[in-house]
Symmetry: D2
Subunit: 313 residues, 4 copies
């Protein structure tokens, strides 16, 4: 993570100011408010604002005049009930806003979650910094031969170092040429050549590689945050976006601990079992030794079901 | 507006508690936080939470690390620029949540604004109070004969009083029969008859009239709030929903005064002039005396244009 | 279902016209296109347009230039894979449009599904017909005492007939008074009294009961249709909206048979088992006799899990 | 535009098949259905499906049982009325689906329009072709010095040719290295080296430049299409996305000619005039010679208003 001294000063200043409010406030989240939480080599997630807490979920479900909360155990019971029975609207009553710095190829996956508000740093208007994502050696994954969108093992030796060199050199050359085409005063670039006009920013940016870092403000409600995290903190998600989701899961824990616990139990660590899968399960519970060929499931579904049940396929 | 003593106590309790926060806080809005603002005969709007302020708009547009604001005049200039050029995403960075009590027929208009989060009091689960909207005499409008969805004048004399009687009697009878069918302990209803089962709540509610009051929590972002207010605080909106929108415009003024001013200038009190309308305007500004028949506009469009220009049609 | 002779003629005319198209076309759905499928006592669902078929899902997943489909078995395999792994966007590539006639209280539940397009018949602009939903005797459910939003048994004898009378009389009186207040030429209402102005339509409608029928055009994509049907064709949904969902499930079967099958297996008849539930399941499969008290589940969750597994609670 | 012989054959096959349907069908749009319309150097837009026509707008506004259309002149009048008065829902009743090939930096602007359905070609799963956008000489724009996100003039001579060389060389080198890292059988790349594992596709793609072409299926309704086109076919939009929007405006003309005409008159070629702007206008129409300093408008707003009115600033 790269934060300049000026940015650090801004952060300290913003973090040191406090105000008095009648709104629901969450001290555990306030602790990390505005602070950049590092992700990957230069990225971060900063929680920069929030609205509501666990009680706001309860309050909305009860459409109450006051805090609407009762004993903590009753509130937790209600939250778990809502989660289990797929009630969605009470969880939409909490909102959170982040400032995120992330590689462009990660931003392109992220933006597919449409029920959110986004303001991205504009490369049409501004100049992007010379910062690129380069995988750590343990994340320089080889292509899986069985799963077209999967990884298998890690590149090693000469191949690994050649790949790292290419990623670094190509990103740097592209950025250097981008800066040359712009012909503006830019930190780390050549001085301006007054005999040249300079290419429009909105065009020059097309020369950058997809691991260049961008930034945005991203705001969503608690329901859609959970939808995002369920998919992106999952083991099938690409490692690079999962790194962001993992940090966000931790911040969510600070914000709405009761909802977080219900989310883990009923979403993240739960499993959906298909109708044919349930039929298999019932036979097994009745004592039958079911094997894939007579299960009615395809080999792939059979393996997935056995994995969920913690049994050998 | 009908607030019970219990509800008043809850409100006072919630209003008296204050907390310390690092979040942007708006004292003018905090003043009215949680307080029911009366609308119509029994309805209200309560602002119950908010996120962000005018600075949050500026901050998002600049994707900044700190408060992102500069001098107030520069911030206002940027907000006006964003509004004028239909930039939408920075205004999505602020969020507001209301508790609203409103007649069902108003709720049905309101819900058509889909980009919002809603939790309505459930008549499937709970019992609705005996409260109905009855228009004040000055709002007992006659049907317009020229505009099928418009009003023209006000009913008077015997017709007015007969209409008022019917509205009141029908609403009350329907509620009384609703309560009878439920056969539960309800304030203002007959005692429970232990020999009867009672109709399911989810069915009994169908006997209520559309002026019965319901309540909901409604949460939206500043952009969609403005879209709502532009349509519903407009003179073409039905009076009953406009009464709510007007109160919300005032609360918005407290919350985001710079955005509110820009909103009035570039949305509420602005006018969109069509391509043919602009052609007419250019001819008029060049000194030509244009009349409807040679304007290229239909009579109706001509009248609308002259109204915008403050000229006789 | 009440269709006038004029409407029937319009339907026959629209159904008899055919056109030539290059678009994907589904004969089984074309068969019922435009035809009102009866629901409840006066309601209906009419499929009035559609875009795409099962192949469009496959095509989108493959971003292909042509039909993008391979053998039916491969296409079905892909669709089942997408459904099982919660891929959502390929299912958004199909669209369907309905004309629905439904009681207002059902419309109020339905409209909570926001990701859809709606045009409702406007009672501000037009006059509503004298048609109300009255439950058939076998659906005149009593209130459940254990589940506040549930039904339990059916009202019988005198109570049933009194409830039916009240529902009918109140709806009819309210409509009659609505018509009287309007003072317009309306089928089934008194003649116009020229000495009266008539109340504005947008006001008079508030006198109607919530079982009055309304109509709308409702359009959504296949993904959101499935989200709707999963909740509304479910046994926990109120009977009256389920009656609509059931008819729509059948029409979906005609439209996209492969997707429908996957939908039944992986959504409608599937079950989500929580993390604590999975732990119980593993113990049971390992031969342990688990009982609720040592299961880590609440009594309610235990009952729900046993129901899913087809075992006594 | 680069279409392989195989793709051409698929297109011809899909274009030659016709079906019989009861749905509204638009011959002028059917003519170009599936056909790639060239955009930029290698891009295209293909209309691949649609639902509804001008009549569907009218039909929805009237919630009719049949075609719902009357005389063409009445239908057009209604469509113009709906457009003028910002009625939105009837235009949501038509839907269109495109297959688009476009540079990644254009895709990143495009995706900000969230109310649409998207399936993008996955570079996590598949391998991207060696195709990059390189501006034609007349679009190699210089940076504007007055407008930070604008263009001013065109690069010429040596600067232009050096920029073109850099764009080409960097894109090609990055793609070549991408292909090397993948170590798979790829047209135009080196043969596979069996001693290397090959980098995971989801990682290798990060080495590509932002002018690399991607493809997607993009589906939206007519209202949101117009929102997209109003912003992206506008002179302030970046040339490269405008090139796509222009082609889509033409296709829309074929599809819904009445709506298109209204869209041009009331959206694309209309102007919104602010409250202070209207005040100026009224003074001018009353014969006053208003100048910027006494107009109450900022210099920038004054220039914008004069431009709309076709007068010297």
């Amino acid at each position: 993570m790269t934060i300049t001294a000026d940015q650090r000063a801004e952060l300290d200043q913003i973090r040191s100011a406090t105000f008095t409010t009648r709104r629901a406030t969450v001290p555990a989240l306030e602790e990390i408010l505005f602070e950049p939480l590092p992700v990957l080599d230069h990225g971060f997630v900063r929680v920069i604002d929030y609205m509501g807490d666990d009680s706001a979920v309860v309050q909305a479900a009860r459409v109450s005049y006051g805090r609407g909360t009762k004993k903590v155990s009753e509130d937790e019971g209600l939250i778990r009930y809502l989660m289990r029975h797929w009630h969605s609207t009470p969880f939409e009553m909490c909102e959170i806003k982040y400032h995120v710095k992330l590689p462009i190829f990660v931003a392109r996956q992220w933006i597919r979650h449409r029920t959110a508000n986004v303001n991205e740093y504009s490369a049409r208007y501004s100049i992007l910094d010379r910062e690129f994502y380069l995988p750590a050696p343990e994340h320089l994954a080889a292509q899986s031969s069985s799963n077209r969108q999967g990884r298998a093992g890690v590149l090693e030796g000469e191949e690994a170092s050649r790949v790292m060199d290419l990623l670094r050199e190509d990103a740097e050359r592209c950025w250097r040429d981008y800066a040359w085409m712009l012909n503006e005063e830019i930190d780390g670039a050549e001085p301006v050549d007054p005999s040249r006009q300079g290419l429009a920013r909105e065009l020059a940016r097309m020369n950058l590689t997809l691991n260049t870092y961008t930034q945005w403000y991203w705001k969503t409600d608690l329901l859609n945050l959970m939808n995002f995290l369920r998919l992106r903190a999952d083991s099938h998600a690409q490692y690079e976006i999962r790194a962001y989701a993992d940090v966000m899961v931790d911040a969510m824990e600070r914000w709405v601990p009761l909802t977080s616990r219900a989310f883990r139990d009923y979403r993240m660590n739960a499993a959906t079992i298909s109708a044919p899968g349930l039929a298999v399960l019932r036979r097994m519970l009745a004592g039958e030794a079911v094997a894939q060929p007579d299960s009615g499931l395809s080999p792939r579904e059979w393996r997935e079901l056995m994995a969920v049940l913690g049994r050998p396929a």
